[in-house]
């Protein structure tokens, strides 16, 4: 049965993906306005909510906001269009300057000039040569004899009627107008009926997934709204700098280029290039020399470099939850599927898809592939580097984390979990002897090196009275963890001793005169940590006059207070699951706070 299901489960996502892409492509006329409307709704909902807060009902508030937004876009569009027309009309008078610049460029190279000249001649010959017309059906004997006048070519010109003209213009205008209308209608519907839409989506996803769906919708809404708002702010900053810079350089239409910069920058990657090319081309035509056009290029390059490399990664990296590669791949994907419009919608749509992957287990791969959250924890990376026998990389992981965190946390969060992973793999036979030896030796070396770097000599210090014996429960991994524990106890002023693995820990403690004034800290790395720790605790308790026992069940996660209490009773010891906890418990015992210490209670 399982075998029958296996191929289906592998193929289904692929088929699903193909169908999804096909739907996206073939239904783009409907989906593009829908996506735009969704984006607008994300952007305008906070404003509508604000108006609702001022006691304006939702429907008028939504219509009002949308009218205002449409008016703003229309005004900006009208301004940009009139300015661009004005530029287009004035450009022919600057053709002389443009030719002079091209000639100046050519002047530097005779070769180039010759090639250009030859190309021009060739072009002239081609255009001057009249192609001989062939007349189907009049070839051969029926072809006109030489000397007879050539037939006059006849061109059929359609009569331009008013209806035809209206149809031509309407065809060009109606399509974008229709799309814009659809966007407005969808947006109004989404703004007014947003609660109803949310409830329907929740019902669609199933009531048992209420929590996950609610979280997903909130998360997507917050991320997309924040992204659109941030991008608008960044683009506004970009446009302002460009407009101000162009004004200082003395470029005409500086305000137009600034406004265009704001909107064109919504196109990832190519937007700033187009925004920069337009004023460059115009200044090239208008200005006398090269200085102004080059300054324009420099202004765009510097502004874009600063915003693209410093401002955006800082803002978007944190706020959209997308990796840089995901943004690039999504830009390509949506452009291929939906054309240039897809480029504008790429990032917000990918944010929505990533959020969907975060809250839907079946689509988790989307979050892993596109999200910016680290997919492996530092301890897994550390362990993986050691498995790859790359000691330096593994050490780098430790040192990088050590820059921001105290060593005890680094050991607790990376080294001990890695030891636990190694032990687990060793017990299941997945770790070969060579790697196991390399791993244990490397971790041992790292721990010694890092601990020595921050070690405070035990001599010449005011020390605590309590002596601590750190005893490994079973094997080398436990021994390394015991050494770590002893290091941090020594740092806290406790005379700590780390022992090798002993067959008879009880006898060892007795031979060293261990008693109620001392603490034994048993170090046990999973798996079987509780069982191994119990054996050691039993051995110590059997030898009479026992010391306090702290069972360090590293990375162990007892679920609930009751289980912790049961463990405490089974082990006859206080249970610590991290080095920090173990140190704290020894300190507590030393202070005499734990007057009913587990070893005494039994």
């Amino acid at each position: 049965m399982a075998r029958d299901n296996a191929p289906t489960s592998t193929i289904s996502p692929v088929i699903g993906l193909v169908i999804a892409i096909a739907v996206l492509y073939f239904a783009r006329d409907l989906l593009i306005p829908l996506a735009f409307a969704l984006l607008l709704a994300f952007l305008l909902t906070p404003i509508v909510k604000r108006l609702e807060g001022w006691k304006i009902p939702r429907a008028p508030a939504s219509v009002l906001v949308l009218i205002f937004a449409s008016a703003l876009v229309s005004v900006v569009g009208y301004f940009v269009a009139t300015q661009l027309i004005s530029i287009a009309e004035s450009l022919p008078q600057y053709s002389g300057k443009l030719s002079a610049k091209i000639q100046a460029l050519e002047g530097g190279s005779n070769g180039l000039r010759d090639v250009l000249s030859q190309l021009q001649d060739m072009g002239r010959q081609i255009t001057e040569k009249k192609p001989e017309r062939s007349f189907p059906g009049v070839e051969g004997k029926n072809a006109p004899a030489s000397g007879t006048p050539a037939p006059i070519p006849v061109e059929i010109v359609e009569e331009h009627s008013v209806v035809q003209a209206i149809r031509d213009y309407a065809g060009t205008l109606l399509r974008p107008l229709g799309t814009a209308g659809l966007i407005v209608v969808f947006s109004i519907f989404m703004l007014i009926d947003r609660d109803n839409l949310r409830y329907r989506l929740l019902r669609l996803m199933g009531q048992q997934k209420l929590q996950a769906t609610t979280k997903a919708m909130d998360d997507a809404g917050q991320r997309v709204s924040r992204y659109v708002l941030l991008q608008f702010c960044v683009n506004a900053g970009f446009g302002t700098i460009i407009a101000f810079g162009l004004y200082l350089i003395g470029v005409q239409y500086w305000l137009l280029w600034g406004v265009l910069g704001i909107f064109l920058r919504f196109l990832p990657y190519i937007g700033p290039v187009i925004a920069g090319f337009l004023p460059f081309a115009v200044t090239l035509a208008v200005s006398d020399g090269w200085r102004t056009p080059l300054l324009v290029v420099g202004l765009f390059l510097v502004t874009e470099a600063i915003i693209g490399n410093f401002v955006e990664p800082l803002l978007y990296g944190v706020h959209t939850g997308l990796s840089a590669v995901a943004i690039l791949v999504s830009a390509i994907f949506w452009t291929v599927v939906w054309g240039p419009i897809g480029l504008v919608l790429a990032t917000p749509l990918t944010v929505c898809i990533t959020v969907l992957g975060r809250y839907t287990p079946q689509l988790e791969f989307l979050n892993i592939l596109l999200g910016d959250e680290p997919v492996l924890t530092p301890s897994v990376i550390f362990y993986q580097r050691l498995l790859a026998l790359d000691q330096q990389d593994a050490l780098n992981v430790l040192e990088n984390l050590g820059k921001d965190k105290p060593l005890i946390q680094v050991f607790d969060e990376i080294v001990i979990p890695a030891l636990a992973m190694a032990e687990r793999d060793r017990h299941t036979g997945q770790l070969d002897a060579r790697r196991e030896e390399f791993l244990v030796e490397s971790i041992n070396e790292f721990v010694t090196e890092l601990a020595e770097a921050e070690a405070i000599p035990i001599t010449g210090r005011q020390l605590q009275n309590t002596r601590v014996f750190c005893i490994p429960a079973h094997d080398a991994a436990d021994e390394i963890a015991a050494a770590m524990c002893a290091h941090f106890l020594t740092q806290e002023g406790f005379p700590a001793i780390t022992f090798p693995v002993s067959d008879s820990p009880g006898e060892l403690i007795r031979n060293l005169g261990g008693g109620p004034d001392d603490v034994v800290c048993i170090s046990a790395v999973p798996p079987f940590s509780a069982g191994n720790a119990k054996k050691v605790a039993k051995s110590i308790l059997e030898h009479g006059n026992p010391p306090h026992i702290v069972a360090g069940l590293w990375t162990y996660a007892p679920s609930g207070e009751a289980r912790t209490e049961r463990l405490r009773k089974v082990l006859c010891a206080t249970v610590a699951t991290t080095l920090a906890e173990a140190v704290a418990q020894v300190q507590e015992i030393d202070r005499g706070v734990a007057t009913d210490g587990p070893s005494r209670a039994t």
Binding site: N444, E445, V447, T448, A451, E452, A455, P457, I458, T459, G460, L463, R467, C470, I480, A483, A486, H487, T490, P495, A496, I497, T498, F499, P500, S502, S504, E507, L508, N511, L512, G513
Partner: protein
């Protein structure tokens, strides 16, 4: 912790296996002992004691002495100023 402690531990184990039950550890060249080093010493002391033997320390430097004092091992492990004195202590027994 580390290679020196492991080496020390295995050397003592080898000596015990070879039937040497009276052992003098000359610490003249040992400037400092960490918790693992002291642990290896205490572990070997316990093993020798359990085997019916005796372990003594000679020429321990001040830093090592202090560590043995704070861990109270100096009360258990006899310490001598010179190796000769340590060897003589076996004769006395």
């Amino acid at each position: 912790m580390g290679a020196p402690s492991n080496e020390f531990r295995s050397t003592i184990a080898d000596l015990l296996r070879a039937g040497n039950q009276r052992i003098v550890l000359n610490f003249k060249g040992v400037p400092y002992a960490d918790s693992a080093g002291i642990g290896a010493l205490a572990f070997n002391f316990s093993n020798i004691k359990a085997a019916g033997g005796r372990l003594v320390v000679a020429e321990a430097q001040q830093a090592v002495r202090e560590v043995l004092d704070v861990t109270r091992l100096s009360q258990l492990i006899p310490m001598f100023a010179t190796e000769q004195e340590a060897l003589s202590s076996f004769g006395a027994n």
